[in-house]
Amino acid sequence: MRTVECDVAVVGAGPAGLAAAARAKRCGAGRVVLMDRDRELGGILNQCIHNGFGLQLLSQELTGPEYAEHFINEARDAGVETMLDTMVLEVTRSRQIVAVNRTEGLIQANAKAIILAMGARERNRGGVIIPGMRPAGVFTAGAAQRFVNMEGYMPGKRIVVLGSGDIGLIMARRLTWEGAKVEAVLEILPFPSGLTRNIVQCLNDQGIPLYLSHTVVDIHGEERVEGVTVARVDSDLRPIPGTEWDIECDTLLLSVGLIPENELTRDVGGELDPVTGGPVVTDEMETSTPGIFACGNVVHIHDLVDNVTREAWTAGEGAARLAARQQPGGETIRTRAGDGVRYVAPHLLHLDNLVARDVRLFMRATRPAERVQVEAVVGGKVVFSKFERVVRPAEMVVLTIPPGKVSPGKASPDHAGGGSHPELVVRITPRDRDTAVEGGRKA
């Protein structure tokens, strides 16, 4: 077995892995090796040929492959070594990787730091439990996207999309442009799961109907899909008897969520967040297994790639610091999702970092709301907050805490209001239920 010694090994060359590897190298790490199981760098970006990537970070509207190219060039320029068509079979707590490819066979990489950037996979029919027959013609939206955009084949001609996730919306438009008829997009929730711009550009502009609070309750067809039965759902998301109707179609696309791809993370044995399904990470993007970092969709599902890149930079910096033995020490404070917040990442913040630099918190709202304050609370006191005109579960909320808002004194157990584990709670509250109760918040 060939052995590779390196400072940093990165698993997965999608947007997260590319940015993390390049940043680690730029921050002084020695040998950085980036592995991916696909034949090209860029991961899922390669099949996302629509535009809208990079608006925040690069101030340009790029397609997926263009966004990937930017970061592929950065990684190459930085001197990152890449290994393609290479499947990682195993990651150990002692930071060894076993991988395999056609040309070199089995490879063992010994790294000072490992960055897990495997991304996510799509939730499929078994995951959402759609009753009915099991014919050909049921695809996850991403698999259909690969067929259309990379292999040059159509999954079908009359399409129903279940779920209003972004990939499903993009594919509804793509398939329409390719000449298919998209009969309907169904969303079980009373609000869309995808970005507003995708609802507008991919459905409204194409004349594709979106049915909120609807789901598929039956699939017809023995060999190939012949139709689906759909129904309205009640507030508990249960189909309402008597509201069913049939839609003839030959294809059902599923855009019903992404699942962080954490099989390797589980092998390593770190703590996982039950809400995100991803690892618990520090503000350095280090998991609870020392030296194992993670970033991107493997940690939690992002909607904008720009945020993935930002998170990956943090992971790259963290891994480089670890390789150089310059990690922050000292106390940490735990984050917790409070009212109106479904989850928050990262999960542990170094007090040293809170003093010294910006610390970015990613979170998702539990429900759509207008005119809210996004607040960080320590020991019952709001230490930082910002106003948001609209929050939606589909769109990540980012709260960047400037240096010095949380000082070591404030977060000590004495001031945290009991309990020996100081925590920073993030919450989303209506703006009008205001300052009197909370006190001390900045306007």
């Binding site: 490819n101 084949y153 159509m154 079908g156 442009w177």
Partner: protein
């Protein structure tokens, strides 16, 4: 077209685990055997959708075919699976009782099992149950321990039976539904499939849920198959550790109840419920049925997480009425037509014993069975990358780099395995066929990642156009065609001639024009122009 004519001593109808088992048994002898199957592959009926259990044999009424063949089949499993390279684990099994009344029932099962000849049955107390199965419902009172129970892979067994049969001279005809049989002087003389007529001395009816329809083709109507649907959950390997052996509830009169069992591949399976359905094509799962399954499963293992479900499916048990037992033997009045029908549970367990029983019936009916000296009972287990140690993996990649290319990331299946599966003695041409042989697509992402790659390999290896590749034969195409095709169709119809027709002014247009437009469109596209129409 003149039908091809074949001559056989025995035609076996149906290539499920029963038909392939009979074929492999007869392959030991110097007889000409043709195995016909209406689907595109073996094991595509009830064999692919059941609980995959090797039952001990305490359920069946003493004296029935079920009782005899279950216990005999169970005892044959270790040898058969060793010879054929099929996964089999002798895990033992437990029937779990939750009340004193149910414990009495366990005693009855134990007594029945003793009469049936089941070895080692024992009622064990709560503490012992919880020691060996810590995740079982703590309300357990006692359980019936059956050390001879086990688990296997039904489709692996049927594929291995078929491959070993073919290797020993059996002819297999896939995608060959029987459309008729000729009966002369009270005996079947030939079996007709599309494009082929097989003259034969004997027929074995192993047609599963269609066995009654097949029997009617020889003018008999001795039983009816009433399909009883069972629905299943399959769970991620992540929760495979929850149980170590099949757990049964105390059975009712008609079914053994909803079981929770490990699979030989490390997953967990739960099911089946039981619902009589009128339609032999009705393999649909239902919301109510799946809810019943998860509820039943949680009575046994309360910690079973529904979110770890990776797929659901339904199978149809071939229940023969009025028999209630397996229907095995010559059809009354047609002495060379042998039924192996009504093979519901414990049919999988009984399959190797059914093969022996059918062999004996054929011999009694006059089939001469001379052993072939060159019969090879061994079929090597196909090499699986994921089952090898690192050194073995390295050695394989050195010989053939395709062993280093992972196609299915959930089950770590390599390109070499997929290629090998496509070129074995029993043809494999479909995505499901590849899945059953290699496990590519059987994992937690259910083919989302490997699907496009497997389509591509089938295209390359078998010379099938991607849009002709199917999930499971017939018209189960994966793809509708190259992208832009339907666009070209639409665009073509927007040419001037059709625009006029759309306005209702030229509706005498002949059909030829549309095709002409399309061809013209393609030609123009070919030179890079989009002058025609406009989208």
């Amino acid at each position: 077209m003149q039908a091809r004519r074949l001559a056989a001593d025995v035609v076996i109808i149906g290539a499920g685990v029963v038909g392939t088992g009979v074929a492999r048994e007869l392959a030991r002898y110097d007889v000409r055997v043709v195995l016909v199957e209406k689907r595109a592959d073996v094991a595509f009926g009830t064999t692919k959708a059941n609980t995959a259990l090797v039952h001990a044999g305490y359920d069946a009424e003493p004296g029935t075919w079920k009782a005899r063949l279950n216990v005999r089949g169970n005892s044959l499993y270790p040898k058969v699976c060793a010879e054929l390279g099929v996964a089999y684990k002798n895990t033992g099994s437990l029937v779990v009782a939750f009340s004193e009344a149910q414990v009495l029932h366990l005693q009855e099962l134990k007594a029945k099992g003793r009469i049936n000849g089941v070895p080692g049955l024992e009622v064990i107390p709560r503490e012992r149950v919880l020691t060996i199965e810590p995740d079982v419902n703590p309300d357990v009172v006692a359980a019936l321990w059956a050390p001879s129970g086990g688990i296997t892979s039904p489709w692996e067994l049927a594929i291995a039976f078929a491959e070993n049969a073919v290797a020993n001279g059996v002819e297999l005809l896939l995608s060959s539904p029987v459309i008729g049989m000729d009966v002369r002087g009270g005996r079947v003389s030939s079996v007709r499939c599309p494009g082929v007529v097989i003259d034969t001395g004997f027929v074995v009816n192993a047609a599963g849920i269609w066995a009654d329809d097949i029997e009617r083709m020889v003018g008999r109507d001795d039983f009816e198959i009433t399909p009883r649907r069972g629905e299943y959950y399959l769970f991620d390997k992540r929760v495979g550790h929850l149980v170590s052996r099949p757990l049964f509830p105390v059975p009712s009169r008609s079914t053994k109840g909803i079981v929770v069992a490990p699979t030989v591949d490390g997953n967990l399976i739960a099911g089946p419920n039981a619902l009589l359905v009128g339609d032999k094509g009705d393999l649909a799962t239902t919301a109510a049925g799946l809810a019943e399954v998860i509820e039943g499963a949680r009575r046994l293992v309360p910690g079973l997480p529904a979110r770890e479900s990776i797929t659901n499916f339904a199978g149809l048990r071939a229940v023969a009425v009025p028999a209630g037992d397996f229907v095995i033997g010559a059809s009354p009045g047609v002495p060379n037509f042998i039924n192996a029908a009504g093979i519901q549970s414990p049919g999988l367990t009984a399959a190797p014993a059914i093969a022996e029983a059918v062999r004996d019936i054929l011999a009694d009916a006059g089939l001469e069975l001379a052993e072939k000296p060159d019969f090879n009972p061994v079929r090597e287990r196909p090499t699986r990358f994921a089952e090898l140690c690192r050194d073995e993996q390295s050695a394989l990649i050195e010989k053939n780099p395709l062993w280093g290319h992972i196609i299915c990331r959930c089950e770590n299946v390599t390109e070499a395995e997929v290629v090998e599966a496509l070129h074995r003695a029993v043809p494999c041409t479909t995505l499901d066929g590849v899945k059953f042989r290699t496990r590519a697509g059987a994992g937690r992402c259910q083919g989302g990642f490997c699907g496009p790659r497997v389509v591509d390999i089938i295209h390359r290896e078998l010379g099938v156009a991607p849009e002709q590749v199917t999930k499971k034969g017939g018209r189960s195409y994966i793809l509708s065609g190259p992208s832009k095709d339907s666009l070209l169709e639409q665009t073509a119809c927007r040419c001037l001639a059709h625009a006029i027709r759309d306005d209702g002014q030229a509706d005498t247009e002949d059909v030829g024009t549309e095709d002409a437009c399309r061809i013209e469109m393609r030609e123009r596209e070919g030179v890079g122009g989009h002058a025609h129409g406009g989208v």
